[in-house]
Each structure stands twice: as C-alpha cells, then as structure tokens.
Symmetry: D2
C-alpha cells in the first residue's frame, strides 16, 4: 500500500484526488540555499495545464500553486517544500453514472478489487489530474538541475499514428514544440496531427502517441550499476505514468534486431564528440581517468546503468485515452453486462500533455541520482 512517495534522497510525496479539495506535493531533500520562486513552479504547471487552448483537451483549471513551507526569503531552507493546487473545475455531476459502472481501459475495477471502494468522480487518484503534484515537484528538481547546466526537453514524437521527424531530420524544431499545444516539434506535422485528432474527436474516438525526451548536460557517473541503474530508475518513473505502455532507450527495440558491430558506441577522445558534456563540466573525473566521448549514441547516454556524458535519450509510448465518446460494453457493480457512454471533458490524445510530466519525472530521478553521486562514489579525503 501507499506508493505515493518517490525517491531516496531527493524525494517527493504527492497527494490529491481529481475532484477532492486539492492536489499537491511535498518535496523533501532539496538542498538549502537554492533560489526558488513561485513562478518557477507555476510556469511548469501552465505547461501541463488542461485547456491550454489546443485540440487535445477541453477541461480548464487555473492551477495556481501555493507554497506552504520550505522557502524563506527566496531560497530553499533544506526543509520540505509543500505545494498545493486547489481543484476548482470539478463537475462531479458528470460522473454520477460511473458510480456503478467500470469504464473499459480504466482502473475503476482494479481499484475496487484492491481497495474495496473508490472516488468515482473523474477517476479520483487515478486521474491525470494526479500528475499536477508531480509537475509541481518536478519544477523544483528542474531548477536544481538547471543550476548544474542539466537541461531536460521533451516533445511529441508521434500522435494519432503520425510520426514526427526526429532531431537531424528536416523540419525538426524544438522551439516549435513549446509553441503549439500538441508539443510537436515540426510545424507541418503539428497541423496534420491536429486535424487527425479533431477528426477522432468527432468520431468519439481517441489516439495514442509517443513522447521523446532528451537530457543534455548530464555528467558521466550518474546511476548505480546494478538495481539502481539510471535507465531502470527512468523506466520506473515513466511506467508510473497512467497511460504509459512502454519505454526504450537510445536505439531501443531496434537494437534487439541489430548487430554488435553496428550498435556498439565506440569511445573517442573528448572534444571530438558532439553532444558529450565537456571535460571541464561540474563533476570532475576521478584522478587518472581520461575524459572521452562516444562516436555514436545508440546506448542513449547510459552504459551499464551509468550515464556516459552523452545526452540521455528515451521514448515513452502512451496508449489512447480510454475515455471515448462511443458506446461500450462493460460490467456494472451488480456484475451484469451493461452499455456505457462516457460523458465529460476528455483528451483525445494524452501524449502532448504527458510531455511536461515526462520532464518532471525525469527531473525527479536525476536530482535524486545527482545527490547520491555528488558526495562521491569515489573516496576522497577532502570532499
């Protein structure tokens, strides 16, 4: 039971049901003295906010965070940073019908099978609204990481069956991902996907998508080499997102079809590698260990569970939003088959809004690993 606390040193505890009074997060273990403002948090919440104006959702929440503790005179105190976000837009009446019916593709029945009861209004704790707390906490982690030059950027790499060209392909433009509500880094594809999503909405259907994430500035040496591998921690974080069905790093599943002679990333002297963090980055290498880069990044920035200094790259797959406007067969609380047509406001495709959550969870993992590696995996008398 439980499972609402995440991390070892830099930890977050989230809380809140979709239609309860508030959701939020408590960040514990953030170092003291870090400059942090309310706006740092509010900005990230706006990025994930429903009703961003785009075609993927229609719900609206103000999502104004309130910080209850942990910041004093503009800096973190080293104490828990409690952040709450009031729920203001819940129209519970939309959900009355769901009290006695289990929605296909949702956690309604599994929740009851586990807990015996559920808050049926909007999915309760299984709602996408739950991620507001993650994003608020991730905003703190992002500020922390940013101070070390670590940057996390996500984008929609596929949605509604339409693939988006990746970095290096023509038309790829990360800035674009921040300006269109679908978070698609390609102007033309963004329009194409928007049209497809609008068509699906009219049909009462929904669509899946993938979100890519790239982290630059990550020094080598992060991650533990056995169970706490960097990729294991990231995978856990991504699959903890409601609709995630898969993840891959670097060459990913295609590596399972390739050869070692093609896929091995060969070390090259530092400076020659594009994308690797420079040797003089904030975490100096232990004595006697040469700086180097890699000639390719099929590994996605991690070897043996430890960061290589190349960008960390991974992609997460999200299933179609299960709340669809078509009639579906299901089972009621009485155990009998019944028809169900879900009302209320729903996204067609979750991938665009998942991006900021992917970034937040990535930031939480990395902040935690950074604090576990800063002191020194490597013994030195004068830390």
């Amino acid at each position: 039971m439980g499972g609402n606390v995440f991390g070892t040193i830099f930890t977050v505890t989230t809380f809140g049901e979709s239609h309860g009074p508030a959701c939020g997060a408590v960040v514990d273990g953030c170092p003291a003295g870090l400059p942090l403002t309310l706006e740092d948090i509010a900005r990230e919440l706006r990025r994930r906010r429903p009703g961003g104006g785009g075609p993927s959702t229609t719900r609206f929440e103000a999502d104004e965070p309130e910080v209850l503790s942990g910041i004093f005179e503009g800096k973190t105190l080293g104490t828990p940073i409690a952040i709450i976000i009031r729920n203001t837009s819940g129209r519970s009446a939309d959900y009355e019908e769901l009290r006695d019916a289990y929605r296909p593709g949702h956690a309604d029945w599994t929740w009851e099978a586990k807990y015996g009861l559920r808050d049926y209004r909007g999915g309760g704790r299984s709602s996408g609204r739950e991620t507001a707390g993650r994003v608020a906490a991730g905003a703190v982690a992002k500020v922390f990481l940013g101070r070390y030059g670590i940057n996390i950027q996500s984008w929609t790499s596929e949605a509604a069956g339409i693939e988006v060209p990746g970095p290096g392909d023509g038309g790829f433009d990360l800035a674009e991902a921040e300006t269109n509500p679908l978070r698609v880094p390609h102007r033309e594809k963004a329009r194409e996907i928007a049209e497809k999503i609008e068509a699906l909405r009219r049909e009462g259907d929904s669509a899946g998508g993938t979100v890519s994430c790239k982290v630059t500035g990550l020094p080598p040496g992060l991650g533990e080499p056995v169970f706490g591998k960097l990729d294991a921690r990231i995978a856990e974080a991504m699959l903890s997102l409601g609709a995630a069905k898969g993840i891959e790093f670097g060459a990913g599943f295609s590596a399972a079809y390739g050869r070692g002679s093609e896929l091995n990333d060969c070390p090259i002297p530092a400076g020659e590698g594009s994308g690797a963090v420079p040797p003089g980055h904030f975490r100096s290498l232990p004595p006697g260990v040469p700086a180097l880069a890699y000639g390719s990044n099929n590994a996605g920035g991690v070897l043996g569970g430890i960061s290589t200094g190349m960008p960390l790259e991974f992609k997460t797959a999200f299933k179609p939003v299960p709340s669809i406007g078509q009639n579906q067969k299901t089972v009621g609380r009485d155990g009998k088959i019944r028809d169900l047509c879900i009302r209320g406001r729903h996204d067609v495709c979750i991938a665009p809004r998942a991006g900021p959550v992917v970034e937040a969870m990535t930031a939480l993992v990395l902040a935690d690993l950074l604090l576990m590696s800063l002191p020194g995996a490597c013994f030195k008398l004068d830390p």
Copy 2:
C-alpha cells in the same frame, strides 16, 4: 551509491564480481515456514548457466549454490537466506589487455568515471555473472509464488533478427522453450536462429533479441496506483538488466499507434474470460465488488498500475552482446585512440540466457508486491 538492494518487504541484496571469490544473494523478508530446498535454487541456476550446451555461450561454471542461513529442517525461518555461488572458471589472463582499454558498448569507462577504479577482469560487477545472485534469489521468490498458484514463464521471442511466432500462432510451444538452449518456443525457428547465431559467431559479430514473459495466476489488486505501479516496478526490474534497452506491456508501442475503440479492454462477467484468474482464487475480493474478467488483454494484465487478474504480459528488448571478435576502435587509459580485439568466451546473443533472469526479477517484484497486500511473517496458504 550502492543500489545492490532491491525490494521493500521481500528484499534481495546481491554481491559478487565476475572473477572474485564468489557471487550470491541475501533474501530478506521471505515468510517463515515455506518449504524450500537447495535443489529449488540449484535448478534455476542451471537454467541460466553458461555452457548449457547450446550455441549462445561457451563459458562453463558449475554454479553450485550453498545456503548459509535462513533454512532449518527444510523450511524457511523468516530470517535472511544467504546463498553463495563460488566462481570457479575465471581465466583472468584473458582480460589483461582490458586493464588499460575501454571496451565499446561496455560499462568500462562509465564505471571508472564514477568510481575511479574497476575490476577489469570480465567486467567485474558489470558482468552478466552478476545475475547469478538474482537468479538464486528469484528461485526463492518463485517457490513462494508457486504456493499461490502464480506461474512465471519466459521465452525468446526474437533473436538475431528472426521473429518467433507468439502464443496463438502456429507452432508456438512453451515446452520447447525449456528444451532448446536458445529458449525458443518453436522447433523450426529455434533451428533457424541457431544457424544464424553460429554464422554471426564465425563473423566475430553478435546479435540482439527480445524476451517475452507471461505470468498467470496473479490475483487482481497487486501494485500501488501511483509511483509503485505494477508495471513501473517490473519496468525498473527489467531495465536493471545489463543489456536491456526497452520494455513494453501488452499492446505496448503498437498501442501508441492505435485507437481507444480498438484497444480498450472491456470488462466481461467472470467465467466468460479466458485467462483471468477464477473468482475463487486465493485473494478474495472486498465485499460488494463483483468478480469480472476482460474480453481482451491489450493492457497486458495491468490497469492503473494494479493487476487485473488477466495474465501479466511484457516483452524486454536486449541489445547485441557488445563483446565482439572484430577489431574495434576505442580509447585507452592514456586517453589515446587504439585498436581493440576482445578475446575470451562470450555469448553471441544474450536473450536466451536472459530469460531465467527476467523470470527471477519478475518473481522478486511480485513476491514483494504480494507481501504488501497479504499477511505476514508466518506463511499460510490461505490468508
């Protein structure tokens, strides 16, 4: 630092370098009173053992486990079960050249970048040998789960670019996976893959593969609904395996390209569903919650992070073994480019041997989650 302890209630701590005196595991939190024999552990170790006679590897280890504690008169005591496996076959001389060179695709440099030194003999702790401890511990978890009728079965679903037909396809035969060293559940494909691997070995090259895993008998209600989702925990476990590059559950990445109307698993009354655990399974449902099944299993047995009672199904992608017999460019400890040709005994494709490790890690995750939902210290079949 660390990261060699896994789990919350049913935990395992593994240890051991490839060419050190021994590797092993300490299982903590296994309920008392569980019948457990040395052979239960030895059998699983034989399944993962190198030199199983097949084409995928050539190293030989006896892998005889010794139990140092935790079992008394044929039953677990509730105390830590320490298991050691002596390393007997290490030929360190093969590795002298690696003292000063970083192998492409390996953790050699990342390890040094983190720790400042490494045991260069056979990869040390980053060797596949590390998984012996996992398998020994997983054997204990498997016995525990078996008592509840929970069964875990893996197979090679692709290797060296050759796809193996899945359950429901013609020729799929799980028993076959236990008899051929490639763990391919299809006689003809097994032969085909063996030939391809042999050809790659002659070329001094290697290949990737995927491993599928299916768990039956899992009751609904396992997994925590936010961070500790069942799929998140499994994903973490799988990506903690050395060469894993991705994982997907149920429809997985293909779900990212589909529609909600196709992919939603619709509830059906219990009894009608094939594959779902029967209503009278060991964990009874809370009062008022009807037993049900699902008409499809695109979710792979998990909704909202909680098991549905349908089989848990996932697939893990493994990259090609990075140790290849061809000449490669790399960088030495002196920071200079150099040629490297790796000697020693190496697998061509890791997927076949990864299967038992996939099962072991799955068992460890499930035993832990089961104990978070079930009673106690003292083992009883009917809690």
Copy 3:
C-alpha cells in the same frame, strides 16, 4: 538530507516552519475503508495545542486542520491523506534579535552549520510547532489501531524534579492526566508541579521532565527481530522529538543494575497473566504455538524486538526548554561573544505537551509494524 518521511508501509511526510504559512502532514499507506472524520484529527491537535489553559505555555493557535485528500464519504480511500494546519499566531517581530545570534541549547547554529541559512523566526522547522504535523498524522494511526483494540496512553511521570507515582502506586489516576494541563495522573502532584513551574517561570528558568507511555491490546508478534526491533523503532521515534535525551523500556536503566534471576519475565499459561492480550485477540497464533502470558513485565512488552502481548511500556526523558528568560552568553553571527535575553512566549516544561506527540509517534510506529504483519490494502477488522 531530507528526513521528513517516516515509516515503511504506513508512512508520514511532515512539513512546515513555525512561522511559515502552514504546517501539516501527508499520511500514505493507510488502508482504505477506515471510517475517519475531521474531528478525529482535530481532537488530537487540541490535546497538544499550546495555550491549553495550563501553566506550561502561553502561545495560542487555533490549530484547525483541513483535510485535502484521501477521505471520501467518511472513509479513507487508500490514497494519501493530506492535512494542513495554518499558522495564525506567529509574531515574527519577537524573533528579530535572533537573526544574528545563536540561542544556547537550540539548533540555531547546528542548522546553519548544515544548511548555511535558517528561518530564524521561532526556530523554523526546529520549533515544537513542527510536531503539529506528527500529531495530525498520529491521529489517523490511532483511529486505525483503535479498530484493533490497541490503545495508547501517555502521562507526565516527572516534571520540574517532582516524581509522580506510577501505576499501582497510591493516587495514580490516568483520567486525571486528561483533565489537568500538565497531564499529571495524580491530583496532588499536579498541583505541586504547577506551583513549581510557576516559580521557575518567575525566575526566568525552565525544567525537564519525563513522559511515560503504555500501550495495551498489542498482539504478540509485532516488530522485526534484528534491526527493525519494536523497541528500536520506538526509540528512534522518541529520540526524533526535539528535546528528548533518553528512553528506557520496562525496567530500563535499573535493569543494568539487577540480576537475571530477578528480572527474567517467566512465561505463565495464558489467562493467568494480568495485562496480556487474551488468546482470542485479533491476530491468531500460528498453529501449534500455545497462548501464554508473562508473570512480570520487566521487559516492557518486548522480547528480542518482538511484542510479547504484555503492555508495551517505556519512558522518555525531556531536557528543560532551552528558551529561558535569563541573560545568557552566546556567540553572534559575527563570531563574537554577546549577551542574549530571549523574548517571546515559551513553555517552561515541555513534558506535558510532549505527551500527545509521544502517543502520535508511537501510533505511527505501531500502525506501520501492524501493516507489515497484517493484510491489506483494504481494511477489515478480521484479517
């Protein structure tokens, strides 16, 4: 860093500075279906509230809790229960002088030595106000334990140098501890101590005290036998209270001066023992294990780290409140010796107000240990 999360299964995360916007707690892992009201929480907060009318403190806070999540239609959901308590009475001006001076006996300097900065207003996070979150969380744990017939009761057993007769001694009356603000279970001693405390206040001085705690209804079998001993967990919890300087169980320190022949608690058949939980208590014994009691309780209810079924009994020592009204020598932020006279509202003796916090922390430990030995996500009285 961090350290604001407590527990393994039933966990609490607390937050809040003395003069920040609010303090509070997030309880995670409380089983679903437990009837819980706001008044259950408010009642415990009133018990610890400053300004209870008695002689030991003069600060006043309304301490009205708000529940933000985790309760639905009068029952717990199995999700995190977030509780906040607004700070309304902070008079920060009282603390301006403390910005640049380190109070003797306080954590002012150690805090800065660790974090580099502090919220100097009222001790910030090191204030006794921090315990409001613990008490709110403990209230939830108490309700949970109460359902199993587990009752926790504390009292002031010594204050300002005046010893209070214990259970079995003449005049001991637990009901009295709930009616007088000093929580002294003896009418006459309560008056005597009140007078002594008033005299100390006039002198600008303060006093220490001890708090005894007794838990009845605890079944045998709680606690892990090595590191997670029941008494180890309780000791950790008690020494996590600001002014605690020691703890002892059962015969405690006096046992260090006694003989085995005097102190061994000898087993007696169940039913003959006074104080032991009856054999038919909620947790049944494993097959073949006879019910029994103990003829004495020098162990204080725990043997080998595991509860015996006899009452759990321990005593915690609290040092005098370090904020005294007398002139003291200290060092300023400039490193120079200076005089300091502390203003503001302060307790003379913390022991009376510590009682409800002792109970809360005890409840949190026991709820956690109970869930490690009992089933489930879903609350049921008869597991």
Copy 4:
C-alpha cells in the same frame, strides 16, 4: 518482515543463525577506492569474540572472516562487500531441551508467536552470535570514518552493579579498557567487577551493565533535523541490540530533573572549546557561518538532531543475560508449566562484549549520515 537491512546510503544486510553454517554481512554503498584489508575486519571480530580469555564468557569461536567480493587489489570497488564468518563451535546437543520450552527473558516464544517455528539451537537468529555480522560491517565503516579522523570508543561504564568512574574522574584510563576482557577503563574497578561476576557465575546468576560510547572528530552538520535526527538514528541502532533496555545522550535522564539555566550549552568562539572539532576540519562550514564551540556538552554532541562538533556521547543500558544456571519456571510447547534449567556456555554479563557491537552500530550510522551530508545539504555550484 525482514528487518535485516540497515541504512540508506551506506547499508548493511546481515544474516546467519547461531548454529547454522555461517553468519555474515553485505556492506553496500561504501565508496570505491578506500584501502581495506582482511585484517581490518578480523581485528574487530577478535574484539567482540567470545572466549577472549576473560571472565564474562566461555564459548570459543575462531571468527575468521572471508571476504567474497567488493575488494580488489587492496581497495574497495564501490560494489557490495560480502563477508562471511563460519560457525565452528556450535554444540547443538546442549539445546535439545529447548526445542519444547520457552526460556524466560528470551525471544523463544515471541519468535514462535510471529513466525510459527524457530531454530531453537542457541537462539538461532536471536543469538548474540548475530552481532558478528554487524561487527564485520562496522569494521568497514570504522575504516571509512577513520580516514576523516572520526574515532569511536566504547567502554564498560557499569557492570554487576559496580559503577566505573568516567572521563575526568580519577583512574579513568581508556587504554585499560582495551586490555582487560571486561573492557573496564579502570584497573581497580575491573578487578572488582571480575570478582563480582565470578561470584554470580557460581550462583548461576547473571548481571546487567551499561556501555558508554564517545565519538570524536565528528564535524558539525550530521543528522537530519526531523525524523532522521542523529540521536534518533543512534537510539534505533542501540535498541536494535538484543539486550538493550535504554539509552541516554549527554546529561540524559538527569536532564529531565534539571533546569535550563544549568543545562544549556552556551556557544563560545571556536578554539576556546575543548573537545570541539577544529574549524579547519574536513567539512568546511557554509559561507558566512562562524566556527564555534560550546562551553559544556550536556547535549552530548547533538542539538536539534544535528551534530554540534563536540564529542557525541551516549550510554546504553543492557539487562542481565537471561540464560541463568538456576532453576526457573516456564511454559512448554504443550502450554503447561514446567521447570527449566539452562545448560550450555553463557556470558554472565553482556556489557563487555557489547562494547565492540555498540561501536560497530555507531560506525554504521555515522558512515551513512556522513554520505548523506557530504554532498551538500547546502547548495553549491561546484561540489
């Protein structure tokens, strides 16, 4: 269940029953590159060894440790350090009678009440032999701490009712504690106590005692300010020892009887304080925070849960060894009252042998806290 893993970053997992094949420990999270030899571990095991020649015990074990992993070419690898110690001296026949009887003052019945079965030979996992693993692990921690100038020293401060003069009193001599088997730092008292213990042995009785521990060289800033207080962590560690019944820090229980004006430790400029770590110690203070010391150490080196830079001082109370040679009444497995006379080799007073275990557990706590504080509670761009 479980509870055999201790620590967060620097962790230890212990295992082993008294009369099983071996006991031992796995240390995880020890930084790489630390010079460490087998003798470092063997030396500490000899210090706790039964049969040290003195009057307190009569059992003999060679206690030769074997290191299975984690050390390479004389230095730690950053990987788990597995250490085993074979049990060679178990005479199980001595314990046949205990199969069906519950010894007074032991964990025999509580163990069965929890687990349903037990290894009755010598107490199994509840035996003092369990501490061999702790001492082996603690030896690693001690070497780590020693590199930072942190020194841990324990001594018997009372035994069999005879108080030993403390530091500053006449005749106190720490070197003496290492030379006499009772670990009494006072030649005359050592003889006096030895005689008393011999007399008790003849009477078939046993005695309690206290162990004092002092840590020097500890920098300010260790410990988390709320739940993870330095003293809370130490208290948990001490009460996890089998026969421990209480602990106190600094002035301890006597502080509960004193006044603030007497007990407050007043800050003084650094350099004037005797006993405080010098300002130039390995962990530099954050910018703007002056170095200081304290004019007294009633706090025992910890304020608000954070180390002050003054010596950490605490005392642990141990009850008399419950195995006595006199006839006792108890209850058998059949639930009936019976007589029991315990045979076998037993200590009269555990305090002398507890000393090295107290030191080991202290070292484990401090190594863990050091690694949590080195990276920086306090944010800095260039760690």
